[in-house]
């Protein structure tokens, strides 16, 4: 309407910090492509592959918690749905693996959307409590269902190990290099998608709804529709992560998708920087250092991670990713005030 006719001149905007963050989807593949050249150690490949897998869980959590502000501890349980689907039907039928995977991912997505549907009625912590209940229900069913192998679980695609040829690589779980390449490809795609979502109009809408749902409604956003979209994307990503998770262990067992594992994803994302497009990458690096590289006993790790989380929350409340620009701003501010003093 006419308001716009009043002020004709257009402002020019510069975006510097933005560019770096937007580069994430482009920079990541390069880093990952370099790795096999730097090291040929299968151990290094398996370390990185496991870390990338956790990055995927964090990317899935980042969409619901970081982008739309709903803390869910059900991401691994959602992933379990896809993983068990593929494991159960893969063992009992001759269905094409590609079809199984696609349907499995869709199942996780639908479950996530249904879970998200309750978020329109429940706020904040109450929603989180629902996700706890969901995660516990899924693991109780898996532990008591004969078809799912109860507590011993099921072998994952042991009878039919799929081999995908890609140049010099054979993308199979039985070679660490193959699994690394497969995970890296999925990781790069997932991160690119997550980043593009965040900077799309839908991503803006998600952040708007997270920041202030009332204001968002008053401007014509539909919080329910936007949350549904976020839950669909996050659920699909959880499904992919679940299948890869099972693939890497060649096994599906309830513990793999239990709630303590979901809490690990929560801690990793808090450390890395909730809602930031780099969060999955940083989370993967933290996992790599703490859970793979560091020569620490298994039980100590969780304790150490907890300690680090407490320190980070106290010292860098917005996570590691945001600390860098914050320090840069503080530095620039100090430099500016110094130069003012000098000129005065």
């Amino acid at each position: 309407m006419g308001v716009l006719a009043i002020a004709e001149r257009r402002s020019t905007s510069s975006a510097t910090g933005k560019d770096l963050r937007r580069a994430a989807p482009i920079v990541l593949p390069l880093v990952l492509l370099v790795l096999p050249l730097v090291t040929s150690s299968p151990q290094h490949h398996s370390w990185v592959a496991a870390s990338l897998l956790w990055s995927l869980w964090v990317a899935s959590l980042n969409i619901v918690w970081g982008y739309v502000g709903l803390l869910s501890v059900a991401q691994l349980a959602l992933g379990a749905i896809a993983a068990y689907w593929v494991a159960i039907l893969g063992a009992r039928t001759d269905t094409n693996l590609g079809v199984l995977v696609v349907v499995g991912v869709l199942l996780s997505m639908v479950a996530s959307v249904l879970l998200g549907a309750v978020s329109t009625r429940l706020k904040g912590f109450y929603f989180t409590i629902i996700t706890i209940a969901f995660a516990l229900t899924v693991s109780t069913i898996l532990m008591n269902w004969d078809v799912a192998g109860r507590t011993t679980g099921l072998m994952f695609l042991r009878s039919e190990i799929p081999v995908i040829h890609l140049g010099p690589y054979e993308l199979i779980a039985t070679t660490t290099e193959g699994f690394y390449v497969l995970t890296a490809i999925v990781f790069v795609l997932a991160n690119a998608i997550a980043a593009l979502v965040l900077y799309s109009r839908a991503g803006r809408a998600m952040r708007a709804v997270r920041d202030d749902p009332q204001l968002a409604r008053s401007l014509g956003f539909s919080p329910a529709a936007i949350r549904t979209l976020a839950f669909a994307l996050s659920g699909a990503l959880a499904g992919v992560a679940g299948i890869l998770h099972a693939y890497s262990f060649q096994l599906v067992v309830p513990e793999l998708f239990a709630i303590d594992q979901a809490l690990l994803a929560v801690m990793l994302i808090v450390l890395a920087g909730l809602g930031n497009v780099w969060a999955p990458v940083i989370a993967g690096i933290i996992y790599l250092l703490l859970y793979q590289v560091a020569p620490i006993d298994g039980d100590l790790r969780a304790g150490l991670l907890g300690l680090v989380v407490i320190l980070v929350i106290l010292l860098l409340p917005r996570g590691i990713v945001d600390a860098v620009p914050a320090w840069r701003r503080a530095w620039a501010h100090r430099a500016a005030s110094h130069s003012e003093e000098a000129s005065a």
Binding site: I6, R10, S11, R201, A205, R207, A208, S218, L219
Partner: protein, 251 residues
């Protein structure tokens, strides 16, 4: 009054909370391109009425029309997309976004926030232009890169109006836009309201400041205890015994 259909028509609207009427059988019309003041003492039901008009709370009875359309059963989201946009008494902004980003975000809903919004829009330039114009209009240009959460209160309130302007509203419902502003900012607000009116936007403004009402409003509606006690041009209404009694206390 005029023969044309009023842009906003409030017809016998009642809103009760647990049997107590916050708004009781209120009717009035707002003509297109005018500024209507909604006044009344604290607790008169002004904000409740704005909540009902904007769809934030369902009315107990009565109806609201936007032009020829009845808004019965319409959600806040749908009303906003139809051009009936409200602001809040306490400055609401998108705290994690920069001012420019927040304004760009506000331009999203008319283009749909579903799956389509995942893909780049073709009218990016148009959005940038529109955001730039609103920044200019509200003198927010120098704050463009500031985080909304860090803004001073007065600027935050101006941004609140800016966000609603980006959506290109037909009718603006302003809930106490002058509350918490200093005198300079209030003068700017009066100026801004006049300019908005000249562009054809219709405004319903809740306000306590009588000088502001007198200087910009074409008409006004007075509520007291949820009931409309007077309606008409400010120069008439403000001399009415009942209005003076309700507002200033009986002498």
């Amino acid at each position: 009054m005029t023969d044309t259909i009023p842009i906003l028509s409030v017809q016998n609207v009642t809103k009760t909370f647990g049997g107590i009427a916050a708004v009781s059988d209120v009717s009035f019309d707002v003509q297109s391109g005018t500024i209507c003041g909604l006044v009344g003492p604290n607790g008169a039901g002004k904000t409740t009425l704005v909540n009902v008009l904007s769809g934030f709370e369902p009315s107990t009875s009565g109806q609201v029309r936007l032009g020829e359309r009845s808004l019965f059963g319409w959600s806040a989201t749908r009303r906003a997309r139809a051009g009936l946009v409200r602001t809040f008494q306490h400055a609401h902004t998108f705290g994690s976004m920069r001012v420019g980003e927040a304004l760009a975000a506000a331009s999203v809903p008319p283009r749909g926030t579903g799956v389509r919004a995942l893909f780049p829009s073709r009218d990016r330039q148009e959005i940038t232009d529109r955001v730039g114009k609103v920044l200019q209009f509200l003198q927010l240009t120098r704050w463009e890169h500031a985080l909304c959460g860090d803004l001073p209160y007065g600027v935050k309130k101006r941004l609140g109006i800016g966000l609603s302007l980006v959506t290109e509203p037909k009718v603006l419902l302003l809930d106490e836009p002058a509350a918490g502003l200093n005198t300079v900012e209030t003068t700017g607000l009066v100026e801004m309201l006049r300019k908005l009116r000249s562009t054809g936007i219709t405004i319903l403004v809740i306000e306590h400041s009588m000088p502001l009402i007198r200087s910009v409003c074409d008409s006004m509606v007075v509520l007291d205890h949820g009931v409309k006690i007077h309606e008409g041009p400010p120069e008439v209404v403000l001399t009415d015994e009942r209005v003076i009694g309700a507002y200033l206390g009986r002498r």
